[in-house]
């Protein structure tokens, strides 16, 4: 019974639903297509619950950390999460309280998220300065040259240097860089196919214990 619940049934569900959806893609006949669409609909709803589960897990982890030294940050996180949840729910469910959600989104969420994203520029700038600190080889030099071409070519510098740099940047982005990126895209796509096949044949079972 234990084995049935933990391994056999989940594997059957994963393989069965996956094959049904894949067949629905390959043979878009009405019965199969409607089964495919229904299964996808169910997956979308379950995915929403997955995020809710993640939320509860985060609360549990940080409530455990709150009792330890340095736990004040965890307390702040939990309080902020509950505040955000309540304000946003109120704004979405009660039209007259929408201004609360707007305020929270505009003056709290947006500045925090945007500034953390902006810090990436600072980190990348430091990384660019220390590029040749640890490795000096042809590959790193190609990397360096590519970064400089793109950086300088983006700037609308005055002619003639500006035009030449802009043309070089365009060529670099459309020929060698695109070739490398296309290879990466095809490789990633093949990887996705392979992982999907492993799941659909039951070789990989990330869902069972």
């Amino acid at each position: 019974m234990d084995r049935l619940v933990k391994r056999i049934l989940p594997t059957s569900i994963a393989v069965g639903t996956g094959l049904l959806v894949l067949l629905g893609y390959l043979l878009p006949v009405p019965p199969l297509a409607s089964v495919r669409d229904e299964l996808i609909r169910w997956a979308v709803i379950i995915a929403a619950f997955a995020f809710i589960l993640g939320f509860f897990n985060l609360l549990r982890v940080h409530s455990g950390r709150a009792r330890k030294p340095g736990g004040i940050y965890s307390v702040i996180l939990i309080l902020t999460a509950m505040t955000s949840l309540v304000l946003t729910l109120a704004a979405l469910l009660i039209p007259s309280l929408r201004f609360l959600g707007d305020w929270w989104f505009r003056y709290v969420l947006s500045p925090l998220q945007a500034t953390v994203a902006g810090l990436i520029a600072f980190v990348l700038a430091v990384a660019a300065f220390r590029l040749l600190r640890h490795r000096r080889e042809a590959g790193v030099l190609v990397f360096l040259v590519a970064a400089l071409v793109v950086l300088l070519g983006t700037l609308p510098l005055p002619a003639p240097a500006g035009n030449w740099l802009a043309n070089l940047r365009t060529w670099w982005m459309n020929v060698p860089a695109m070739a490398g990126m296309r290879g990466l895209l095809i490789g990633v796509g093949l990887g996705v196919l392979l992982v999907g096949l492993r799941v659909l044949t039951g070789s990989d079972r990330p869902y069972s214990d």
């Binding site: 953390v116 994203a117 590519a146 095809i186 996705v192």
Partner: protein, 225 residues
């Protein structure tokens, strides 16, 4: 004090808290990060909950076939929440299995039809190259060699027989090394564009802080004046 003023002060302060990272990791930056995570997660759960309710509730209130169709994913979603309890986590395996199975199939279909086939076809599309004349032909050849080389840069298996291995290293190995250079060219370009994008955001944040401080000073000046 209006809500906008409070918000302006709060937003500016929070921006400065995060920008303090330039001086190094410090308690103010950590505080800002925890505020960010808490606010984002709480907001996300609220939006997700409302979306689920908007999807499932109308179906539950409708006729019986739709009601059953809405109940099944609802039950599976509740079972997924059991994953948070070690003793009953096995009951969440069914929901996870369905998610993984459907997700894998959807991703496979998209990767094959949306990326692999069209991108592979585009590698050797001679008519596209010839559109720009001889320069286009040369560029097309470079793109083809670079794409194949980039793929072969990840081929790590070699034949056992020495003769075959020499042939392999001479052909596939060399092409793989060339592909590695193309990969680095792409990654360097991606580095440059990522820097541009994040600089744009940083510029926006710095402008927002400066504008906010200007407005606050103006307000203080007005109120004192």
């Amino acid at each position: 004090m209006t809500a906008d003023l409070i918000g302006l002060i709060a937003g500016t302060l929070l921006t400065l808290l995060v920008l303090s990272y330039i001086l190094g990791d410090n308690p103010l930056y950590r505080l800002a990060l925890h505020l960010l995570v808490g606010a984002t997660v709480g907001y996300g759960v609220a939006v997700t909950t409302v979306t689920v309710l908007q999807t499932v509730l109308p179906a539950l209130q409708s006729d019986s076939p739709d009601r059953v169709r809405a109940l099944i994913p609802l039950v599976l979603g509740i079972l997924l929440l059991f994953k948070g309890f070690p003793r009953w986590s096995a009951w969440g395996n069914f929901s996870t299995a369905l998610l993984v199975g459907v997700g894998a199939a959807v991703a496979m279909g998209g990767a094959l039809v949306g990326t692999i086939i069209p991108q592979t076809a585009a590698v050797g599309s001679l008519n596209v190259w010839l559109r720009e004349g001889s320069a286009g032909l040369i560029n097309g050849l470079i793109v083809m060699i670079g794409t194949i080389g980039a793929l072969l840069a990840f081929a790590f298996a070699v034949p056992r027989q020495p003769a075959l291995r020499r042939l392999w290293n001479g052909s596939v190995g060399v092409l793989g090394q060339i592909g590695r250079l193309f990969l680095l060219a792409a990654l360097g370009a991606a580095f440059g564009t990522a820097l541009t994008a994040s600089l744009t955001v940083l510029v926006g944040r710095v402008y927002a802080v400066v504008t906010g401080i200007q407005q606050l000073l103006t307000l203080i000046g007005m109120s004192s004046g």
